[in-house]
């Protein structure tokens, strides 16, 4: 490796000697910036600004959502390994952030996910098997967004935050009191589109909640490569509040998102919620995290598992008994089985689907190419028929 010939100069600063930026990632638990209502050990704590009071039923329901989501997610990972899916993006570790925020929503609220919001989809009532079509490669999005007010997964990082903001502008125009939530990741926060969404949201005072799951990784890049200070602080400079919440605490995520949605409904404009969590798995099934992160980091986060802490709490408080947990276990297995079978049964899409829906009102060239395609296909059938005839 050649070295630059800068020896003659006397640099007052070299890039390696530069003052290192404030580390963006404080630890959970002891961080005053972080809203927490349930500690990793399952102890309920109070927060002055974000109170929550849930019935046993409601607590169990949140727990159930998380367990079933994780089970579904594990099944999808397995299906990818078995070759049934081309790819899977696991949400492992982010169940609390997703279930907590999604359960704060009303039916008339609208959700703009990225590609990892399987728990949110679950809460919206999207059949989990519908999520798998795009990962199997049979479609680019297998559900009707308007049925559950749950938009299609968006892969181009950050784009959907603008769609959410525009939708929210429309909600405001309609005089409705619904709210909109846009999910995005820590990596996405670097995209210009997200900044523009903040600007439009602020300027039009749109009823939108920007919900960032900071899972501390964007594929192989830690958050230090995206930001120098915690993300939630960015909101203030755009003129709306930002809150950092323990993303592995389903109660805190629920409480903070509720508050943010209420602000939106009251016409107080956007909020940025940064759910501080951890991507416990690989980025996707194509990824190999051993290339870039230490096992110990993951281990430390297992202790903060979003599901275990709720279970500990439920058990400690006697809010669920063995029968409940066993029943849920059965339900999980049934879900896994149903998903497995549904995926395997998914039909190969019709070839002509290539030409469908390119336009809503049609396009002469698409018609022409479809016709050519059909003629071309037919030439084989004829050809092979005549060959068979030989």
């Amino acid at each position: 490796m050649t070295v630059e010939s800068t020896a003659a100069r006397k640099p007052r600063r070299s890039s390696t000697k530069r003052v290192s930026a404030k580390k963006p990632q404080p630890e959970t638990g002891t961080d005053p910036e972080l809203v927490q209502l349930l500690t990793p050990d399952g102890v309920r704590v109070e927060h002055p600004d974000y109170a929550i009071d849930l019935s046993a039923d409601e607590l169990r329901a949140l727990y159930r959502d998380m367990v079933l989501t994780r089970r579904f997610d594990a099944e999808a990972t397995a299906l990818q390994r078995q070759g049934e899916l081309g790819l899977w993006a696991s949400l492992l570790g982010q169940e609390a952030a997703q279930i907590g925020s999604a359960r704060a929503l009303r039916d008339d609220d609208y959700v703009f996910p990225t590609y990892r919001e399987h728990g949110v989809a679950w809460c919206r009532g999207v059949d989990p098997t519908n999520l798998l079509g795009m990962f199997r490669g049979v479609n680019h999005g297998g559900w009707d967004p308007t049925t559950n007010n749950f938009h299609l997964y968006t892969i181009v990082i950050g784009s959907q935050t603008l769609h959410a903001t525009g939708y929210a502008m429309g909600v405001a125009k309609d005089g409705a009191d619904s709210a909109v939530i846009a999910y995005f990741g820590d990596g996405a926060s670097s995209q210009g589109d997200v900044a523009e969404a903040f600007t439009f949201g602020a300027v039009y005072n749109a009823p939108v909640v920007f919900f960032c799951q900071n899972n501390q990784w964007a594929i192989s890049e830690p958050t230090e490569k995206q930001m120098r200070v915690p993300l939630y602080q960015r909101a203030q400079g755009y003129g709306f509040p930002g809150v950092r919440v323990d993303g592995n605490d389903v109660l805190a995520c629920l409480a903070v998102t509720r508050w943010a949605l209420e602000r939106a409904r009251r016409g107080e404009g956007p909020t940025l919620v940064e759910a501080f969590t951890y991507r416990m798995g690989a980025h996707t099934t194509s990824d190999d995290p051993t290339k870039y992160r230490a096992d110990e980091e993951r281990e430390a986060w297992v202790a903060k598992d979003p599901i275990l802490r709720v279970r500990a709490y439920l058990e400690k408080e006697g809010l669920a008994d063995e029968a409940y947990f066993a029943g849920l276990e059965d339900e999980s297995e049934t879900l896994g089985k149903r998903v497995r079978e549904a995926v395997r049964a998914m039909p190969q899409p019709d070839q002509l689907a290539i030409f469908e829906n390119v336009y809503a009102d049609g396009h002469a060239l698409v018609d022409e190419e479809r016709a050519q395609f059909l003629a071309y296909q037919a030439s084989f059938t004829e050809g092979s028929a005549s060959e068979e005839g030989n």
């Binding site: 181009v156 525009g166 125009k173 309609d174």
Partner: protein
């Protein structure tokens, strides 16, 4: 208002006004479209009459404009977005190409994207860099978009009506140097389809095909050629995606010669697509290769060189002569 003479810009203004009146879901969005009425005054007076909720001055961020327009369309609105100049559409290119164009297909037809993106385009007004470009090929190559450009006031009025009514995204290129050209607009005439080419004038020796600002130049060229006894048919293509190949084919089968004219650079331009496809369709009819007249493979030059860069009357006639010489 029935038939009257209007400048092209005013025809669009009237068309937008009509749309705002007719459909409460229609919105106008863009930089300076409000009080200023846009830098070309195309939206003049609309905010005053329809309010800030319908005619929206946006932040200076094209990706944001198109991205929020997509969201508004998802909510049931029909946004008509203005990009201030051709050269400033590129920050929005990602939203247009990866989101707007694909949303209908991605959703298996569940979502419609009735978004119009208005772009004043082309040169000839002596402007500084980025204000004179013709990027239509960069949109026409992308499936899911429709791309059109009117050449006169009547088309400007009616094509805008049709674009707004379309359930597909339409990139609407406005020939800015024709904004002030007046021609007849009949707001009660029932127009033909949005994507159909028009025979501007019939001829028998050669076909000139153009769209937007170049139609006028071609008509002038045809007149000049006529003086030399050459009968030139002029087509106004009106739509770059889809392209009305049938009309071109019909013409070429008759004239056996085709010259395509556009301001955009020739290399990978719409003339290439037309030449390739018409040659395939009319292989045995063509007496000469399809010739193309357009911009050079160079950045749009400083204003004082634009007359040399733009395909003008003489360059069109030169191509006509070369074609006829085959």
């Amino acid at each position: 208002m029935a038939a009257q003479k209007l400048p092209l810009a005013k025809a669009i203004n009237e068309s937008l006004r009509k749309a705002l009146e007719t459909d409460p879901k229609v919105l106008i969005m863009g930089e300076d479209v409000g009080k200023l009425g846009g830098v070309f005054r195309v939206t003049d007076g609309l905010q005053k009459d329809f309010g800030e909720d319908r005619v929206i001055d946006t932040p200076l961020a094209e990706s944001g404009i198109v991205g929020t327009a997509i969201g508004l369309a998802l909510r049931g609105y029909r946004p008509v977005v203005e990009i201030q100049f051709d050269g400033f559409v590129f920050p929005a290119y990602d939203q247009i190409v990866t989101q707007l164009a694909k949303m209908h297909a991605r959703s298996l037809g569940k979502i419609k994207m009735p978004v119009v993106i208005r772009i004043p385009y082309g040169g000839g007004i002596g402007a500084v860099e980025h204000h004179s470009e013709s990027p239509e090929a960069l949109f026409a190559h992308v499936a899911g978009l429709k791309v059109v450009s009117p050449s006169n006031s009547s088309d400007a009025y009616w094509m805008m009506q049709q674009a707004i009514q379309s359930n597909d995204p339409v990139i609407f290129f406005e020939p800015k140097r024709r904004y002030w050209d007046k021609s007849e607009v009949d707001t009660e005439a029932i127009p033909g389809p949005l994507h159909k080419a028009r025979v501007v004038q019939a001829g028998s020796d050669l076909t000139l095909a153009a769209y937007g600002p170049m139609v006028k130049v071609c008509v002038e060229a045809a007149a000049a050629a006529a003086e030399e006894g050459k009968s030139v048919e002029v087509l106004d293509l009106r739509s770059m995606s889809p392209i009305d190949f049938d009309t071109i084919q019909t013409s070429v089968e008759k004239t056996r010669r085709l010259v395509v004219v556009h301001e955009a650079p020739v290399f990978y331009g719409s003339g290439a697509e037309i030449a390739a496809r018409i040659t395939e369709r009319c292989f045995y009819h063509l007496e000469a290769p399809v010739l193309r007249v357009g911009g050079y493979h160079a950045p749009y030059p400083p204003a004082r060189l634009e007359d040399e860069y733009l395909p003008g009357l003489d360059r069109v006639l030169d191509a006509v002569d070369r074609s006829l010489a085959y």
